[in-house]
Amino acid sequence: MFSFIMKIFSSPIFTWWNSATFGTKLFTSRKGVKVGEDNQGNIYYKEKNGHRRWVIYKNGPVEASRVPAEWHGWLHYTVDELPSESNQVIKDWEKDHIPNMTGSDAAYLPSGSLSMGGKRATSTSDYEPWTP
Amino acid sequence: MSETAITAFSWSEENEKKAQYHIAKYPEGRQQSAVMPLLDIAQRQNGGHVTIEIMEYIADYLDMPAIKVQEVATFYTMYNHKPVGKHHVQVCGTTPCWLRGSDDIMSACKKRLGISKGETTEDGMFTLSEVECAGACVNAPAVAINDDYFEDLTPETMTALLDKLAKGEDVKPGPQIDRQTSGPAGGLTTLKDFDAKEAE
C-alpha cells in the first residue's frame, strides 16, 4: 500500500524534477510548436501565439544549467532569433557547454582539495616540521 | 663607524692651530660647537669641498657622532659636497638682485663660461651656481666669487671680470661702478660739505 502511494507521488503527475510533468506535456501537445533542438537533444517549444517559450529536457533531471548559451538567450527572451537562424559564429576557442556538475563525481575541485591530492600553495599558517 | 674609516685627511700645521683657536672659544666638553668653523677650514684646506672622510675626521677630532657632522655639512649650502673650480662664482638670484637684472648676469656667466648652473668648467677654473640672498641688496646685482663680493654688475662688467680671472689678473672686489662701498651711486648726494676731520 505504502509503495503504491509512493509510486503515485513519484510519478510525473506530481514530480517535476525528473522529467517534464504531465501538465507540461499536455500543454506542449496542445499549444506547443517545436522550434528547435540543441546538440544535447533538449527540445525547445513556443506557444502558437508566440507568447511563451519553454524547453523539454531530454532524459534526465530538469536542470536549468543544461540549456546551452546559444539557446539561453532565446529562452529568456533576450533575443528573438533562434540560434539556427542567427549568424552567430562559434569560435574555435569556445568550449562545449557543460551543465552545473555540483554534487556529481564530475564536480569541480580545486587542486588543494584532498580528493585531488591535496597539493595547495603554501600559506603563512604552514610550518616546517622537524625531521630527524 | 668612524674607527673603520680610512681618513686620508688630516690638518695642516697651520690649520690645526686655527682649529684649536676655534675650539678654545667654547667651554670644556662643548668642543662640538666648533664644528662649523672646522668644516670651513677643512673645506678650504681640501680645495673647496668637504668629503665623508673629512666629516669623519672632524667627528673624531671633536668627539661627536659622524652623522651629526654630516647633518651640519649638508644643511648649510656653503659647504660643497662636490669638487668646485678655482673660482666659485655664486650669482645671487633673490628678489632685489633679480629685479636689478641678475638673470642677465647669470646668462652672461653661462655664455662666457659655457656651462650651466651647478657645473664646473673643464679646465677646473670656474664653478657656477645660483645662491640665495647674499645680503648685498643695496648694491644689487651682486656676485660672490670665493670670499669676495662683486657688486653693481652689468653683463659686460661681469664678462670682463671673468676674463680677468681666467687670465689670472688681479680684480677689484666691491662695487664695479663709481660708488664707495654702499654709499650712493655716483658719489655723495647729501652732507656734501661734511668734513670728517673737522667734526673731530
Binding site: S123, T124, S125, D126, Y127, E128, P129, W130, T131, P132 | M1, A5, T51, I52, E53, E56, P65, A66, I67, K68, Q70, E71, T74, F75, T77
Partner: protein, 684 residues
Amino acid sequence: MPTLTIDGQEVTVDPGTTVLQACEEVGVEIPRFCYHERLSIAGNCRMCLVEMEKAPKPIASCAMPAGDGMVIHTNTERVKKAREGVMEFLLINHPLDCPICDQGGECDLQDQSMAFGGGDSRYDENKRAVEDKYMGPLISTTMTRCIHCMRCVRFSTEVAGVDDMGSLWRGEHTEVTTYLDGMLDSEMSGNVIDLCPVGALTSKPYAFTARSWELKSTESIDVMDAVGSNIRVDARGAAVMRILPRLHEDVNEEWISDKTRFVYDGLKKRRLDRPYVRKGGKLTEASWAEAFDAIKKGLKDVKGDEIAGVVGDLADMEAMYAMKDLLGNLGSNRIESRQDGAALDASVRAGYLMNSSIAGIEDADYLLMIGTNPRAEAPLVNTRIRKSVRHLGLKVANIGEAVDLTYPVQEYGNDASLISKITGGRHEISKALKAAEKPMILVGQGALQGKDGAAVLKMARDIADKYCIKDGWNGFNVLHTAASRVGALDLSLVSEGGINAITSDAEGGKIKAVFLLGADELDTSCFKDTFTVYVGTHGDEGVKNADVILPAAAYTEKSGTYISTEGRVQMTAKAVFAPGDAREDWTIFRALSDVLGTTLLYDNLGQLRLKLVEAVPHITAIDEVPDAEWGDFGTKGDIEAGEITNAISNFYLTNPIARTSDIMADCIEARSGEGFEEATGTNG
C-alpha cells in the same frame, strides 16, 4: 602649580607640563606626529596647534609650557583651519599609496587626516620623491612617505643610544637616513617601526604579509629574556604574523627588543609536531601511545634516584610544576633548572631576584655591575639604566668585560677577585657605594657561572648587606637571562652539585633516565647512554641524544605563568594552537603519569594552578613584585683572580626559537658587517 583653562575647564598641572599634556589631562585630544611622551620635544610637525588667548597666532601645544592663567581653546574655527592647513602641507609630499602601504589601517597620518584634514587636496604639482634607505634586515623604508617628524632620529640617539640616524639636507630636500645607509646598530632598533607615524619605516619581515585588521591580537608576555616584556601577539589563522609591545610602565615602558619582536618566524620552523621514539638507534615517528609505552619500558628497571630532570629557559611554571610532580611520584627530586651552571641559591628568594625592580633603577644613584652585559642579556634593563644615567644622574661602575653599553661606565677591569676587595671599605667602589643614597648591585649570570660562582654570590651578598640594604630599599639584584629561571627557583628546582653533577653522573652511569623540559642550552652528548625523554618545541640541541621526543607548545601557544627577573608574576596567553600533534607541556606530563601508573591529581589548568598556588603562594599576586625577605645565601670562599665571561655571547642566539629564526640569522650577518654590501647609495 600653574592653573590654566582649557575649553572652559580649569586644570592645575605640575610645573613643566606642556599645554598638550594639560589638554590630555582634561581629556582633550590634540593631534600630533612629532610629539612622543618618551622622547624629547621637537615641535616640528605643527599638528598640535591650539589657540591661546592673547597670543597673536596659534601655538604649538607640545612645545609650550603650561603657564598660570593661560586660556586655551582647541575647538575653535581658527584651530580647525590651522590643523587643516598643517595637514594639507603634510600631505603635499605624502604619496597616496595607502592601499599598498603596510601602515594602512594603523597609520597616524591616515587617522588624523580623517579626523582633522580638509577632505581634499588643492595641490596638483609634482610630489617629491626620495630614494629609499637601507636600514638593515629589520626595517623596511619608503622614505617618500616620511613627514620628517624625527621621532626615529630622536629615539636612536636618546633611547637606543646609538648615534646612527640623522636628517640630511634641508627644507624640501630633507632626508632622514642612517649614517651612510648602514644599519641601526642597536638591539632596540625595531621600535622605530612603532614610532613612525606614517609608513616610512615598516617591518621588513612582516612586509606585505597581512593587513592590520585581519589580525587577531592576544595580549601576552615575552620569554626571550627574563624581563617579561609585555607583548601583543598578532596572529592570522594558525600563524603568528608579528609581535608588538604593550605598555607597561614598570617593565618595558613601550619598547621591546628586536629579539622579542622578530623571533616569531622561529615558531614556524624545525617544529616538533609529532612524537618520536628511538628504535635501533634511529628516531622514528610514533603515536603518543607508542611514545608513552616506550617511556614506560625505558623506566622499567630504573630506580627513583636514578632519574633526573633538566628544565630549560623557556619553561612555564605549570609545566615545571607538573614535571616536578611526576618525577616526585617516580621517586626523584633531582631536577635542575640552572642549565648554565650559575651558582644561584634557591633558599633565599631575595638572593635570586632583582630586588630593586626594573623601575627602581630610576631611583638608584649608583650602580655596580658585576659580570653582566645588560645590553645583550636584557636590553630593556639596559635602556632603563641609560634613561636613568641620562636624566636622573645615575653613575655606573663595572667589574667584568668592558662592552659598549651606550652610556658612560666607570670600568674597574675584568677581574673577579676585585669583588672581594670591596667589602674592605677602602676601595674606590666601596666609598662610592657608601656615599650613594640608593646604591644598586647588578650581578650577571656570567659572574655566577665560574667555579667560584657561589663565592661571588656570597661576596656580592655581603657587599649588598653592608651598603645596599636600607629602609625600603634593597639594592641587591640578580639579572637573569632565562624567562623560566626565577619560577624554577621558586619551585626549588635545584639539585646538589648543579648541572655538572647531573652530566657527570649521567656519564658515570649513576643516572639512568633523564627528562629534559626544553633544555637546549647544555651539551646533551653526556646523555648518550642515558634514557632521555625530551619535551620541547624545536629540534635543537635537546633532541640530539633523546630516546623519546614529545612535542610541546611554544610560549605563544599556551597559557603559562612566568616570573620575571624582578619577581613579577605574569601570564602568557594562547594566541595560536600548537602545530600538529604538539600539546601543552603540563598535559603531556599529566597523560604520561597515567601510563606510568602515578596519576597526577589534576585534570585541567585550573586544578593545576590551585596546586601551584599551594607550592608557590606569591604566584597569586599577578603583575606584582612582592618584597622578598633578605637573608644569607651563597657559600663563603676565596675568589680567584681571573676574568669573568658574560653569560650571553650572541644576543640573537639565546634559545631554540631564536636559533631557528632566519630573521635573527640575518641580524647577526648584518651586524657583523658582512651584510653591509647590500647597502644602497654611497659608501663614502
